[in-house]
């Protein structure tokens, strides 16, 4: 049974809520009362329930299977965290309530900030960024603010970004007016330090680096890189997407980093939710700490206080990233996760993530092709050379995994490797689960080499949908349902 759109289930006049019409009163709308119908469908509660339950059944999820997504950590989401985030004292408090009525909420943010600072060895953190990319923006703004304070905002406009970087890095730098200069990688998957140094100069504002990098490797020359950029008068921004590989084993503060965002969902297990909400607090070095944006929490005279405006406390905040305090819901979940794991558990989790990735790398590199020698960090990178001549592309290989009950790995990223396949098993998988996954990928690789191309080119066969026509979607965008045009696109397209 196909599931219609909610609009196609309309019973005019029906509603899934019972609300009593207010008693007669004189509206005070000043003449801007809405005229005419909006067009929303009417459904009863049981219909809405069934509709969304059925929709959910078309989704893959970490609760039902492994996600081998590199750079997009999908780990176990404990339900304790969900329960805690729903405590009325957290879920049902308003960001503009009088501060004496939200002391526990402020304490929670302050406590989480303490954990993040300790784990990173950095002296300050901005909690408000709403997602990783928002954190990047925050970090680069702080760098720009620091440059202004030095009077160098006009001269330092170049930001160095490795080829292998996440797309958000150059996009962020460009959004606030920096020019992006690309750093090449060495053959073994690291930043080319020599080339990097050659690019340094008085116009360089910062380097943006991911570490562990997107090839799954730890940048072993990172301290040298930090020293060099600092010596050249620039700052070191680290993309913290991969912090989950090293948390508890390495502190970014010890590596010379000036700013780094932390994806709470990647490292500290707030659920991905089908694409958000996330949270991206940014830790700062002493050099950048004064410029951290509003608001922040201070603890004085036995009480917590949210600093909401410049001048209420020390510091030269560069401004405000978002209306309120940030993603409180994610904060609660992340802190619940951290308290559960503790310093020991967080370290063990990082080790298990790295161990699992290396186990996959070691177990598959004879049938698939790995561009770099191990050991890797928490992600194992493969390229498509093992598919050469088989007629099977990376995309086909990945889609065939769906028929075996797996979500595909990250494909075609990082760009520095041809037909890249980046696999991050995370610490959440049991050895049995890893072994089954390895066996499946071995089987697929051997199948490809045997020339069983049909298994790949038409895949997936067993999913709720066969492969979807993305070109059609982009060429003639249909971005909403409309009355009267409610036949499926299949007919409309004919």
């Amino acid at each position: 049974q196909e599931e219609p759109l909610i609009f196609e289930l309309d019973s005019p006049g029906a509603s899934g809520v019972d609300l009593d019409e207010p008693e007669e009163f004189a509206p005070r709308l000043g003449g801007v009362a809405r005229q005419g119908r909006i067009g929303l469908p009417g459904l009863s509660e049981p219909e809405v329930m069934r509709h969304y339950v059925r929709l959910s059944q078309k989704n893959y999820a970490i609760d039902s299977g492994l996600y081998p997504l590199g750079s997009c950590t999908m780990k176990h989401n404990p339900r304790l965290n969900e329960k805690m985030a729903r405590l009325p004292g957290f879920g049902d408090v308003h960001p503009l309530q009088p501060q004496q009525t939200v002391q526990g909420a402020l304490e929670l943010i302050d406590t989480l900030a303490h954990w993040l600072k300790e784990l990173t060895g950095m002296p300050a953190v901005a909690m408000s960024p709403k997602a990783g990319a928002h954190g990047e923006l925050c970090g680069m703004m702080a760098i720009d603010a620091a440059l202004r304070a030095r009077g160098e905002e006009g001269t330092r406009k170049r930001v160095l970004v490795p080829e292998s970087a996440h797309g958000t890095n150059p996009a962020t730098a460009a959004q606030i007016g920096f020019t992006v200069d690309s750093i090449p990688a060495t053959e073994d998957g690291h930043v080319d330090v020599k080339a990097f140094k050659a690019k340094l100069g008085p116009d360089v504002a910062a380097i943006m680096l991911t570490n562990p990098n997107t090839c799954g490797l730890f940048e072993r020359d990172i301290i040298e890189i930090a020293d060099a950029v600092h010596e050249a008068g620039g700052y070191f921004y680290c993309d913290g997407a991969n912090f989950n590989a090293i948390a508890g084993r390495v502190r970014p503060g010890d590596l010379g980093i000036d700013a780094m965002h932390i994806n709470l969902h990647k490292t500290f297990s707030t659920p991905h939710g089908g694409g958000g909400p996330g949270a991206g607090p940014v830790v700062f070095s002493q050099a950048l700490a004064p410029f951290a944006p509003l608001p922040w929490i201070v603890h004085e005279k036995g009480a917590y206080r949210a600093i909401e405006h410049e001048g209420e406390s020390t510091g030269q905040p560069f401004g405000r990233m978002t209306a309120f305090h940030g993603q409180m819901g994610m904060f609660v979940r992340a802190l619940a996760y951290m308290l559960s794991h503790g310093a020991d558990g967080i370290r063990q989790a990082s080790e298990d993530a790295v161990l699992s990735a290396n186990y996959i790398l070691a177990s598959l590199k004879d049938v698939m092709s790995a561009p770099y020698e191990g050991p890797c960090m928490h992600e194992a990178l493969f390229d498509d050379s093992f598919l050469k001549g088989t007629g099977v592309e990376t995309l086909d290989f990945a889609k065939a995994m769906i028929d075996e009950g797996y979500h595909p790995m990250t494909m075609y990223f990082p760009l520095v490797v041809h037909g890249a396949m980046l696999i991050e098993p995370t610490e959440s998988e049991s050895k049995d689960s890893l072994d089954l996954f390895i066996a499946t990928l071995r089987d697929l690789a051997e199948s490809a080499k045997r020339g069983e191309t049909e298994r790949f080119s038409g895949a997936p066969y067993l999913a709720p949908r066969r492969r979807l026509d993305e070109t059609l979607a982009a060429r003639k965008p249909i971005l909403r349902w409309q009355h009267g045009r409610n036949e499926p696109a299949s007919k409309a397209a004919e």
Partner: protein, 448 residues
């Protein structure tokens, strides 16, 4: 370690398969100087019961909105959320699913995003909407940047009655992006005239409806004025329930509409996560930020949905992207969409009428308190009162009487003397007659 499936035996076997003697070997690329041998100075692991106790103790120090007469608004609103919503968004298949980059196995997510986009378009009266932004304030910032791209101009005119935090977010982006910004002073009477500031360099005028003081206005003339100069009108809707009763911005001539969708399906959450709404005219779609979900067909011709127009996005375009955004508020959209689906046309418009009716009753009750003056002629579910004492002091005194009475406008605009005695007061369907009576009584006592 309850979250970690690997046992000591497993680890030993895996190390053997890798050919490493210890986990330390795997971290050999880390510079020795930076290796931590011991544990970081933080507490060790704890069981569920202990974690629950600690967090419940913190939560217990706050006063939840649901436990007192509650009238705080100014960009986030306490509404009643049907139990169905939270049940559904907690389904594993929604909660723990990844961004729908693999559409064959994420049609659930994609279809609700398509439904969400349609609903947002309908409410705002616009042609298209994206799959959400972080929240209303960041959506507002992105809207200004988009207007600059569309018009190839660099100056924005901001209403002084735009939420001050939203103003800050826009100012911040403009500042670092080296754009020009003209911001009017706030106008508590709600009679601000913005048209005069719009010139040939202006890319957009940004106006909020209802505004930070709660005033509701017809923006058609402003739209005409903007369009006459080749500028766009961006309308900010801080309370999405208002559109059940108020003419949608699209019908007033808005080119871009942004809003805060928290009121539908989402709790107060001390400020986040919320759901930023972003709608625009069809012709601007390729300049929109954020994810878009579109309809298409699969290899067998069946209707299906995909993320589309990603050539605007950072993972493809990198530094040429329309925005650096690579997240939406997926699960918050779902909550929004389910709540709105439950409401339907009848429920949504009636909910809006109840909100307005309650606010009118409250305005009358507070206006009758000696010394209190209601500033608004027209409003939806929030209005501003002027009190004979400073607003911040009044609010603190009300707390002592068990009433959370609103937002002192001096908190949002410190240093502006005009704000000193003003309080923004919101009332939704959750407020009962007893709540209103308690507020009026307490206010009278506080001002006596």
């Amino acid at each position: 370690m309850r979250y970690l499936p690997l046992t000591t035996d497993d680890r030993a076997q895996m190390l053997a398969a890798i050919g490493a003697k210890s986990v330390d070997e795997l971290f050999k690329d880390v510079p020795e100087a930076a290796r931590l041998d011991g544990l970081i100075d933080l507490p060790r692991r704890q069981g569920e019961m202990e974690v629950e106790r600690q967090l419940a103790a913190m939560a217990g120090k706050n006063i939840p909105a649901g436990q007192v007469p509650f009238f705080v608004g100014a960009g986030a609103y306490k509404h009643h959320i049907p139990a169905t919503v939270d049940h559904l968004i907690q389904r594993s298949e929604f909660l723990t699913s990844y961004t729908p980059y693999q559409p064959e196995i994420t049609q659930g997510t994609l279809q609700y995003l398509f439904e969400f986009q349609t609903q947002v378009s309908m409410l705002t009266g616009m042609e298209v909407a994206n799959a959400s932004m972080y929240d209303g304030s960041t959506a507002c910032g992105e809207a200004v940047l988009m207007a600059h791209r569309v018009t190839k101009r660099k100056k924005a005119v901001l209403s002084g009655n735009l939420h001050p935090h939203y103003q800050d977010v826009v100012a911040n982006l403009s500042d670092f992006g080296s754009y020009k910004l003209v911001t009017e002073p706030p106008c508590p009477k709600g009679t601000e005239g913005l048209a005069g500031e719009i010139d040939e360099e202006t890319s957009c005028v940004v106006v909020q409806n209802p505004d930070i003081f709660g005033h509701v206005r017809d923006l058609s003339a402003l739209a005409e004025a903007a369009h006459a100069k080749g500028a766009l009108m961006i309308v900010v809707v801080p309370e999405i329930v208002s559109l059940g009763l108020i003419t949608p911005p699209g019908e007033m001539g808005a080119d871009i509409v942004v809003g805060e969708g928290q009121s539908l399906g989402n709790g107060l959450n001390f400020g986040g996560p919320y759901v930023g709404l972003f709608a625009a005219k069809q012709k601007f779609v390729r300049q929109m930020p954020g994810r878009l979900c579109g309809e298409t067909v699969d290899a067998e011709g069946k209707r299906g949905f995909v993320l589309t127009l990603s050539t605007r996005e950072q993972h493809i375009r990198r530094e040429k992207a329309t925005s650096n955004i690579c997240t939406n508020s997926g699960l918050c959209c779902l909550a929004f969409t389910i709540h709105l689906s439950l409401l339907g046309e009848e429920g949504y418009t009636r909910l809006a009428r109840i909100n307005h009716a309650n606010a009118v009753k409250l305005a009358d009750a507070l206006g009758a308190v000696p010394g209190v003056n209601v500033l608004n002629e027209a409003f939806f579910n929030e209005f501003t009162i002027e009190t004979p004492k400073p607003g911040a002091e009044v609010i603190d005194a009300l707390v002592e009487k068990g009433v959370l009475g609103g937002v002192p406008l001096s908190r949002l605009m410190p240093g502006n003397d005009e704000m000193k005695n003003l309080i923004a007061v919101a009332s939704t369907e959750v407020n009962s007659d007893q709540d209103r009576a308690a507020y009026a009584r307490a206010l009278k006592e506080v001002l006596a």
